[in-house]
């Protein structure tokens, strides 16, 4: 189909930055991760946390429930009481390290499903409402308002008293109370995106509403939702710990990080490590997730991606020096 266009010397196109070439997609992403050292460390930590959650309880499950009253409330950072008690022991003489590892699994198995469910349901409804506007938007937003204005802890207490406080019920309650967060974010972005010209362009060649939502709205909203979700991950862990504190969350002998924090609170003046280590675990996990989400935000944006193709120190990335590039 060669043409009769008089190809008047075509203007050279702008320089091709970070041309992908033939490299495999996976290795490209891996390289981009390595180029951002902080994000790489965060990814490693998260990977470690996940591995711990999956395999840890198999290895130290017995230790976590082994009561040894002779060794109660031992201080951490000494090998005098065996390697398992390196991070100290709780009032019943159980190994803190082993309990942290076991709690890791419980915590993630509540927090991750709760975040994932609320994120998926909330964003789906939000994008749908924002894309169509009109009555769908009104209904969705009012329902979100109702959920938000109802004290979430009260809702949880009611539900968990009526039903048994099982992990599944906790996940469900937490998911429902967090849905409005995603719903509102997704709706706002989607309402703005549906008026963009490229969405109009897609309409003019016959794209259906659902395919526009999936292909043109979701990919742009996703990084924002991901960031919200990582922040919410922290909230959900803490909410689960409040429920556990009230005795309607995770039930002993099961243990979660949040439960450990609240159990240790009574001993704060004598045994700080009881609350400190599980708290630290929550913070490290959340911060890692947030950093990785920030990286993903840049990596999924074609116009920003070049920042990750040039290895450089994180701090200088936002400085206005063009020397390095």
């Amino acid at each position: 189909m060669s043409s009769g266009i008089d190809l008047v010397p075509v203007k050279p196109t702008t320089a091709i930055v970070g041309e992908p070439g033939k490299k495999r997609a996976a290795s490209k992403w891996f390289q981009m991760l390595l180029n951002d050292r902080v994000a790489a460390v965060a990814a490693a930590i998260l990977g470690f946390v996940f591995l711990t959650a999956i395999f840890g309880p198999m290895l130290v499950g017995d230790l976590a429930t082994k009561i040894d009253l002779d060794n109660s409330n031992q201080a951490p950072f000494t090998l005098a009481h065996g390697w398992a008690n390196f991070l100290g022991t709780d009032p019943l003489g159980r190994s803190m390290l082993a309990r942290l590892i076991v709690a890791c699994q419980t915590t993630l198995s509540v927090a991750i499903p709760a975040v994932v469910i609320s994120a998926i349901v909330g964003s789906a409804i939000g994008m749908w409402a924002g894309f169509y506007r009109g009555w769908r938007e009104t209904v969705a937003m009012r329902v979100a308002d109702v959920i938000m204005s109802f004290p979430s802890l009260l809702l949880a207490v009611v539900v968990l008293y009526v039903f048994s406080p099982s992990a599944a019920n906790i996940v469900l309650v937490l998911a429902i109370t967090r849905i409005p967060v995603y719903l509102r974010t997704a709706r706002a972005e989607s309402a703005e995106l549906q008026s963009r010209l490229f969405v109009d362009a897609a309409r003019t060649f016959g794209a259906s509403a659902s395919s526009i939502i999936f292909r043109h709205v979701l990919p742009i909203v996703l990084p924002t939702l991901l960031t919200v979700a990582t922040l919410d991950f922290c909230y959900v862990m803490l909410a689960e710990s409040s429920l556990s504190f009230l005795g309607i969350g995770i039930q002993p002998p099961d243990v979660s990080w949040g439960l450990m924090v609240s159990q240790g609170r009574t001993y704060l003046h004598t045994a700080w490590w009881l609350s400190f280590f599980p708290g630290l675990a929550i913070v490290i996990t959340t911060v890692s997730a947030t950093i990785l989400a920030a990286w993903a935000r840049i990596a999924t944006d074609p116009a920003q991606r070049w920042r990750l193709t040039v290895p450089q120190k994180r701090l200088s990335r936002f400085a206005k020096t063009t020397k390095r590039i």
């Binding site: 189909m1 075509v10 203007k11 050279p12 490229f198 060649f205 016959g206 990919p219 944006d301």
Partner: protein, 340 residues
Amino acid sequence: MTAAVDHKPTVRQTDAKPVLDVDGMSVEIRTINGTVRAVNDVSFTARRGETLALLGESGCGKSMTATALVGLLEPVADVVEGSATLGGVDLFQVGRAKRREMAGTELAIVFQDALTALNPLYTVGTQLAEPFRIHHNLSAKEAKRKAVDLMTRVGIPQPESRLNSYPHQFSGGMRQRLLIAMAVALNPSVLIADEPTTALDVTVQAQIMALLRDLRSEYDMAVVLITHDLALVAEEADRVAVMYAGNIIETGPVSEVFANPKHPYTKGLLNSVPVNARRGDDLKSIGGSPPDLQAIPEGCVYQARCPLAREVCTTTRPPLDTVQTGRKAACHFPEEVSNV
């Protein structure tokens, strides 16, 4: 009077088949201060292999006309009257599914701002493949191959390697080519070009218009060119419909309309093109400004700025009547226009 640009020596014969027939279309916008009629009783036909220009200044309703035709009106605006027949179907009456089926295959549009009309997150290959995937159910691979063909067709060098580039890595002219490629992908019968070159410099503009011309004859499309650029109309269009305050006030073959306008507004536009102007000369312009769409006067829409206006113009709106074979003008005194 002198027209600003050379006219094409031959006028194309109007024996081409009309594909898009817009008849008496009116668009109203609901505002807080009441309803505004942005497009009033607009009728035109677009014919295969021919370019029809909708010419007018900003806010005259030409883009609104295009938006209404492709079905992208904002919820506050509605087509209240009229029909647009394309392939035996009235675009304003047809069901949503059928309308989607026709989108791209029968009627396509090229937007003015190519950067915002492309999704920044997808490679151009993916985006060019989208029409094929929607309408022909092609696999990603086949659709990509079609995309390469298209990119070659619209003159993008090294299409295979540019396939994986993102919109922001292209120049303005190249982006416009991409948009055109997307619009003609499914071989539509009518292509609406809404100020396709306004954002481009003159050389690139010439290339894009040449490309549109070639594609028009290759696919035997009807092109509706929406523009405010008189020179562009003179260069590219076969017929022109001049719009003012939501109304078409004059139509006809471009060469005839520009050589011998039958409406004082057309005449005024042509006079305001600087010809042989010297430094220090005053540029000619039409005095006054277009009427507020909320307060369109009774009678002729152009009366406030018209040098020929008299009593009858303030009371009776002149209909768009035939003034010569193939030419219509909405003026009570079409014969006096040449004296202005």
